[in-house]
């Protein structure tokens, strides 16, 4: 648990509304604008992930750049098919990441197994069998622009998070999000 989470719990229990809100907005701003990614590129989607951070699409504009070390990153981008042999490695890398951490499932294989859903004896059908996924992007493979969209979607999700455990913050979404409560307040 990061120090800030302890702070959040303390502030929340003592009812420190204004301080909590300010710290929340600062934390969410910094976290959302600086999403360093761990490219977990296993298959075809990795090529589009590389393209997304290179010259034409340039993720760095949004403050997202790839770092291979799990300890230094905020979001793991699972790009490609995950097989049963690979699954423990993916899980371990996720565990090595420092909190707060997010996962983007890029491409049909990471979402559901995609073209290898049927008849395959070794494919994990979606990385959400292994990790909690925050944003799914469809496509086989998705275009680099979809990756940028995923980062923006994740920012919106981060904007609803609070450092107090179990709380959400009110946030006005750019697009209607199914299942998301835009009213804020206590989570279930």
């Amino acid at each position: 648990m990061a120090l800030v989470d302890k702070l959040g719990a303390a502030l929340d229990s003592s009812g420190g509304g204004i301080i909590l809100t300010s710290v929340d907005s600062l934390a969410d701003w910094a976290r959302g604008k600086s999403l360093w990614s761990m490219p977990m590129g296993t298959a075809c989607c990795a090529m589009e992930l590389i393209a997304a951070s290179f010259s034409k699409f340039d993720f760095d504009r949004h403050g997202t750049f790839p770092r291979p070390d799990p300890r230094h990153v905020d979001v793991m981008i699972v790009a490609g098919t995950i097989t049963r042999k690979m699954a423990p490695a993916v899980q371990r890398l996720y565990e090595q990441m420092a909190d707060p951490k997010w996962v983007i499932a890029m491409g049909n294989c990471a979402v559901s197994g995609g073209i290898f859903y049927y008849d395959s004896y070794s494919v994990v059908r979606g990385v959400d069998e292994l990790l909690p996924v925050d944003v799914y992007i469809a496509g086989c493979p998705p275009r680099p622009e979809s990756m940028q969209d995923a980062v923006f979607q994740l920012r919106e999700k981060i904007a609803t998070e609070s450092i107090a455990p179990g709380k959400t913050r009110p946030h006005e979404f750019l697009l209607p999000v199914p299942g998301a409560s835009s009213g804020g307040g206590e989570a279930e």
Partner: protein
Amino acid sequence: MNINELREHLCGQYPDLCPLFSIEFGDGVLVVGCDKLHAAASDLKDLGFDRLGMLTAVDRDETFEMVYRLTSRSMSAGIFLKCHVPRENPITHSLNSLWPAANWQEREVYDLFGIVFKGHPDLRRILLPPEWVGHPLRKDYEDDRMVRRPDYI
């Protein structure tokens, strides 16, 4: 070199291999017994087939058909070498001593078909994890985690 010249060349050099030779889809095929496979491959290597292009197996119900594809750079030609391994006790000779290229490909066939290669230096699973049960490319392979595709075509 076209296929008929190849046949004549082969028959001239190795008369005992000649009756085993046939032509299928424009490719020369040589079907031998698995006990004579190593000798036949060695003969073909001397003949100029210096590359082992591909090595695989096909599940033919009763037997496993081993398929070797040899390529010759000097003749610009390819040839199939086939033998049948019994399903009950699938053991055959390794070609690792002739072509080191057989090393990984035989490990792959061992992994996916369960065919054991005598004389292989390092016969372990290669693609699947070591604790995997069964050999998936056999036609009778069953796996609970496998979802069969609905038959709508």
